[in-house]
């Protein structure tokens, strides 16, 4: 059975641990990344299925991170979870090409359900 590869980018290791624990790792490979460059590299090397970015800063910094993460034919889903609630920033991120945006504090069940839906879609395709 194909184990899904999930990369979690966060500079705060506790938040990354929290999200990883919520997702659960029984049927998934979860890799933590501490820099956006490392995330891009991991995404390329490991063919990640899902990238969870726990900050909006790298996406609003002017570099086209989404394009870097979805190079060539490999197109991982990208979720962003952050504390930013400003409507304009969220809309801009969605326009940038991210698939889901969630704000902290998060509902554990909701995040799990979103990941499960993503899993199901992946399997069906």
């Amino acid at each position: 059975m194909h184990r899904r590869k999930i990369i979690i980018y966060s500079q705060d290791s506790f938040t990354a641990e929290l999200v990883a624990a919520i997702i659960g790792c029984t049927d998934k490979d979860i890799i933590h990344s501490h820099s956006i460059e490392q995330t891009e590299e991991l995404c390329r090397e490991r063919d990640a299925d899902l990238v969870i970015i726990l900050s909006t800063a790298p996406l609003l910094g002017g570099r086209n991170i989404i394009k870097q993460l979805r190079r060539e034919r490999h197109r991982p889903e990208i979720y962003v979870i952050s504390w930013r609630h400003a409507e304009q920033a969220i809309l801009s991120l969605l326009e940038c090409g991210i698939d889901q945006y969630m704000t902290f504090p998060i509902c554990m069940e909701r995040l799990k359900a979103k990941i499960a839906t993503n899993d199901r879609k992946e399997r069906e395709s």
Binding site: S13, F14, T15, E17, L18, A21, I22, G24, L60, G61, G62, H85, E87, Q88, S92, E95, T103, F104, P105, I106, C107, M108, E109
Partner: protein, 316 residues
């Protein structure tokens, strides 16, 4: 000559010893920090597993040493502050078994300043006994701002139905940071988002909280209440906050009452508003209804500046 050389030698030895000792202290502190963060991560995972455990027989989370119990407290606080809708009764057994309330009360009693505020923040994430509530009640009137606000937040978390009464009775004014801490409780669903009675109350803290709710949750139907505050409120801080909130909601600001208020402001305040409104995306025409030609020219320069251009480009 020999004596001088001996002195130099002793001084060099002393410097070397100091450097070695300092290095050792730094290393041991780093090791302690590493250990604490490892423990915290371990307990975050355990707490999440406990909260997601659907079996009838609960799994036990054991923290034996003091360091482990502190890490467990921090993990519970971390999980609770980053999530909402969790059933905290699932953690009651863990909290009782590890006597976390006693540990935190003891820490609060024997610490001072920001350390005490830190323990007070942590105690807010666990269910509290009446004894703890009494202690927090006293500390919510402390002379130290960090302590009293941390105690208040913990009290509100423990007894959300008393939140409004407690805030109304406060003898001090909230800072913007205090309000943002209360807003984070709202986001976790601890206090209801009933902004109308807050906006209509004559209390500074309640009104500021009401305005913050409107701004944070983008409630544009509160337009009328904000206009009422701008036209009738005598407190300058509240009026400024109401105008900033209206502008962050993107509402029109050309009403006579707002213009009159703006005219009464000094030049620095007007300039600051002009800059804010330009950054919020108000057109030059909209700004012309509020500001003089000179001020509008300043706003126009800002809008056309390369900084503005950079901001727009990064969002597209």
């Amino acid at each position: 000559m020999l004596i001088i050389y001996t002195y130099i030698f002793i001084i060099l030895i002393a410097i070397l010893a100091t450097v070695i000792m300092t290095q050792r202290v730094i290393n041991s502190r780093d090791t302690a920090i590493d250990k604490a963060s490892r423990l915290k991560k371990f307990y975050i995972r355990q707490v999440i597993n406990r909260l997601q455990d659907e079996s009838r027989i609960p799994t036990h989370i054991i923290a034996k040493s003091r360091a482990e119990r502190i890490a467990l407290c921090e993990a519970i606080y971390f999980v609770r502050s980053h999530t909402y809708g969790i059933d905290s009764s699932l953690l009651e057994l863990t909290i009782d078994e590890n006597r976390l309330e006693n540990l935190l009360l003891c820490r609060i009693r024997y610490s001072t300043g920001y350390q005490r505020a830190h323990w007070l923040t942590l105690i807010g994430s666990i269910p509290l006994s009446s004894k703890s509530l009494q202690q927090l009640e006293q500390l919510s009137y402390s002379r130290n701002h960090a302590i009293r606000i941390s105690a208040l937040i913990s009290l509100i978390t423990a007894t959300p139905h008393t939140a409004i009464r407690r805030i109304a009775a406060l003898p001090y004014r909230f800072s913007p940071l205090d309000i943002s801490r209360i807003i984070s409780l709202l986001r976790r669903g601890i206090i209801p988002i009933a902004y109308e009675p807050l906006l209509q109350s004559g209390n500074f803290n309640l009104q500021m909280l009401g305005i913050a709710i409107v701004r944070n949750f983008g409630i544009d139907i509160a337009d009328k209440q904000l206009h009422d505050i701008i036209s009738s409120c005598s407190d300058k801080t509240i009026v400024h906050e109401a105008i900033l909130t209206l502008s962050s909601l993107g509402r029109p600001l050309g009403r006579t009452k707002i213009r009159q208020r703006m005219n009464r402001m000094n030049s620095d305040e007007r300039k600051s508003f002009c800059r804010y409104l330009a950054a919020e995306g108000y057109s030059v025409q909209a700004l012309r209804t509020l500001f003089s030609e000179k001020e509008v020219n300043y706003a126009e320069t800002l809008i056309k500046s390369y900084k503005r251009d950079l901001v727009c480009r990064q969002y597209t």
